[in-house]
């Protein structure tokens, strides 16, 4: 379970998050929507520990462990995964090597045996097949020369292989064609279960038709101004944020 209480965060001396309260129980998928610049990505970064995104007040725990106090890799070992809005290129680093190193780092941290290269390749190939990704994706350098959509799919592949307990998907649906959208949704839905929760950041109600959320939260100017069921996304789609912001004020 992810529990966030009164979370405030700044970048430099600019305050971005102004008191977030949010609980995502195990087994649930929550959507976060909100206008550009509202602080959605910032929330993802603060939870996963990016330098320069400083939590100045409040709490964030995952299954009881204080997230804000530990290194990004320790958060990953706890089961946190962030699918980046803008995946980063790693020139010269092979995708397979990167993924296997990451997987084994997580396994080591959890006291599990490392996976050898053949075992890993088998796992990776199976996941790629499920996500309709071509085999050469593994041989290419991490995100280098990938199209926008390929980068997003690569994030989903990483998620499928690393099997997180809490996934934060930051606009993973943006820039995807319809088929890819379905594949991404399948990737998330495949992980769904009592020990998995997800925070899906999106601008589009369409994704939520494939990944049906338990709750939808509306984040505006660093605060969650409304929460509700899946129907809230439909309401936003129809009316936009303006009315909701006025109501909340």
């Amino acid at each position: 379970m992810l529990e966030i209480k009164g979370l405030e965060a700044s970048i430099g001396d600019k305050q971005i998050l102004r008191g977030i309260d949010l609980v995502v129980p195990s087994g649930e998928v929550h959507a976060v929507m909100g206008p550009n610049g509202a602080g959605k990505s910032t929330l993802g970064y603060v939870l996963s520990g990016r330098a320069g995104y400083e939590a100045t007040a409040g709490l964030a725990t995952f299954n009881g462990a204080d997230l804000l106090d530990i290194e990004p890799e320790e958060r990953a070992a706890l089961g946190l995964f962030l699918a980046f809005q803008y995946p980063v290129e790693l020139p010269g680093v092979g995708n397979a090597n990167f993924l296997r190193t990451a997987l084994n780092a997580l396994r080591r941290a959890r006291g599990e045996a490392e996976m050898d290269a053949p075992g890993f390749l088998k796992l990776a190939r199976a996941e790629m097949k499920r996500l309709s990704m071509p085999d050469d994706m593994l041989k290419r350098n991490v995100n280098v020369g990938f199209s926008g959509g390929e980068k997003k799919r690569n994030e989903v592949l990483q998620m499928a292989i690393l099997r997180p307990k809490l996934a934060i998907l930051d606009e993973t649906d943006s820039g995807l064609d319809i088929d890819a959208l379905r594949i991404v949704a399948d990737g998330v839905n495949a992980l769904r279960g009592p020990d998995f929760s997800a925070l899906v950041i999106t601008h589009y109600q369409r994704l939520l038709e494939y990944i049906v959320p338990d709750r939808v939260h509306v984040l505006v100017s660093g605060r969650i101004i409304r929460s509700g069921g899946p129907e809230l996304a439909l309401e936003l789609e129809a009316n936009g944020y303006a009315g909701m912001v006025a109501d909340a004020a």
């Binding site: 996963s48 520990g49 990016r50 330098a51 320069g52 290194e71 990004p72 890799e73 958060r75 990953a76 070992a77 946190l80 995964f81 962030l82 980046f84 995946p87 980063v88 290129e89 790693l90 020139p91 010269g92 680093v93 090597n97 990167f98 190193t101 990451a102 997987l103 780092a105 997580l106 941290a109 350098n141 990483q158 690393l162």
Partner: protein, 494 residues
């Protein structure tokens, strides 16, 4: 006091202390007095039982050296070297090193541990003196399993007609070959350090690959008996006749200490028609402590000549050690259609200084050269790529591609690129690309968010940056080099 003098005095006092503790007096007998003059050179030559022509050659080099000045064009700074304060002959070499691992720089020991070097080997590499009765050779055998390996190894080579031996042995057993080729690529008076080496060299390897022979195994200095006692003034000569090929590995990823702070090696390569030579180096001499004290000064002259048509010489180097690296492995592309390659990774951290690069001299028609240089600087270090591509008049259709990339870690280090291009033939096509980048916070965070530690993340990004060079190394070396790069940069970020 000069830096070299300091180190040597420390060695000297340890040696003197050593006598008190009852070490062999053999050292005293075989250590030439400090200083360099004709008598010392005569002594070296007579101890090695050299022919007159080699003595004359050494003396000529010495005379040239006396008239030369230490070069100062490189981006390196060091206290003046007092050449009269060195011992130029000492045999057998007995290390006057630390008495136990407790006396060794703890940083160095940490590095051994990270590289996975067994305890016993760590002591040897750090130059710890072994108690009397425990001959170092035995331990070295354990390290590289050398006696048995070297024996089968030598038999296989002999069967193929390959000569691979210490250069002093070659002077004795194959004088006509040595006489023909020594100094033929790097003349005795080529530069200050090469001249010094020519006058006083005492160690090094000799390789001869006869016509049509592809050397059946990679030749590694590991397997040369006594390879551990790498000399201060090494001289290596490799000759490959028509259609032959060889891959030669020099160095070792484990950081090595040496009582000699100044190193001035010379390597000459000769490739005849259709011959190919691949020369790979991993250089990890002791860089000094975090302040740069006590590190090795490495002034190396390496040059190969593609004498024959369609011959090929390829230099690959991974340079992570030494306080100072001054080194420009070069190719003279004389044969038509010959190919020169230079792949280099140079890492500097703390106060290390590296000024390294290559020269590609296009003489023959249709000659091609490739230069890929990756410089990584961290800490307060300085890393300079210095390269020259020169196309002479007759080099119709010469081609060069140069790629120079610098990676900066932190904001107190320096990266410099000094490319010279000189073309006297209008048909030449020369391309040069250069980039400077930093390990970005984005990249580090991306890796760490996937579970990689900060250090693994740096290692992964740096190895990615160096990929184009590392893939040129022989497999076994490449794996070690990758680990070495990651370990060298530990603690440099964040």
């Amino acid at each position: 006091m000069t830096a070299v003098a300091e180190t040597l005095d420390a060695v000297q006092s340890a040696t003197e202390g050593g006598y008190k503790w009852g070490f062999s007096t053999e050292i005293e007998m075989d250590m030439a007095p400090k200083g360099l003059n004709e008598d010392i050179i005569r002594l070296i030559s007579s101890r090695k039982e050299e022919p007159q022509w080699l003595l004359d050659w050494r003396l000529k080099a010495y005379a040239a050296w006396l008239k030369m000045e230490e070069p100062h064009w490189a981006m390196i700074h060091h206290p003046p070297i007092d050449y009269q304060d060195l011992h130029y002959y000492a045999a057998p070499k007995k290390k006057a090193g630390p008495k136990s691992l407790d006396e060794v720089d703890p940083e160095l020991l940490k590095m051994y541990e990270k590289l996975g070097i067994p305890l016993k080997e760590r002591a040897i590499l750090a130059g710890v003196e072994l108690p009397e009765g425990e001959a170092p050779q035995v331990a070295i055998d354990a390290v590289f399993d050398s006696v048995s390996v070297a024996t089968t190894f030598k038999a296989t080579l002999a069967k193929a007609g390959v000569i691979f031996c210490p250069i002093s042995e070659a002077v004795r057993d194959h004088p006509e070959l040595v006489r023909q080729y020594i100094g033929s690529v790097i003349p005795a008076g080529d530069n200050y350090f090469a001249a010094l080496n020519s006058a006083v060299f005492t160690d090094g390897s000799f390789v001869f690959i006869p016509k049509g022979v592809r050397c059946p195994m990679e030749l590694s200095t590991y397997f040369r008996i006594n390879a551990r006692n790498t000399g201060q003034f090494e001289r290596t000569l490799i000759i490959v006749e028509d259609g032959g090929s060889v891959s030669y590995l020099e160095g070792c990823t484990a950081p090595q200490r040496d009582e000699n702070q100044l190193h001035a090696a010379v390597v000459e390569l000769v490739a005849m028609n259709d011959a190919s030579i691949k020369y790979s180096t991993v250089q990890n001499w002791y860089p000094g402590d975090a302040e740069g004290r006590g590190g090795i000064y490495n002034f190396v002259t390496k040059r190969g000549i593609c004498k024959g048509a369609n011959s090929k010489i390829s230099w690959t180097q991974v340079e992570t050690g030494s306080a100072i690296t001054w080194k420009y492995p070069s190719c003279i592309l004389q044969g038509d259609g010959s190919v020169g390659e230079f792949y280099s990774v140079a890492v500097t951290t703390n106060h290390q200084q590296a000024d390294t690069g290559t020269k590609m001299i296009h003489i023959g028609r249709n000659t091609r050269s490739t230069i890929v240089s990756k410089g990584i600087s961290a800490g307060k270090s300085n890393n300079t790529y210095r390269g020259k591509v020169s196309v002479l008049k007759g080099a119709e259709n010469a081609r060069n591609f140069t790629q120079c990339d610098s990676l900066l870690i932190g904001d107190q280090c320096g990266a410099h690129t000094v490319p010279y291009i000189e073309s006297r033939n209008p048909t030449a096509k020369l391309e040069h690309e250069a980039t400077t980048s930093k390990i970005s916070d984005d990249q580090l965070f991306y890796c760490r968010s996937r579970g990689l530690s900060q250090e693994d993340a740096v290692g992964m990004i740096v190895n990615g940056f160096c990929r184009d060079v590392l893939k040129e190394l022989p497999m076994e070396f490449a794996v070690e080099a990758q680990k070495l790069l990651a370990v060298s940069l530990e603690g440099s970020v964040g």
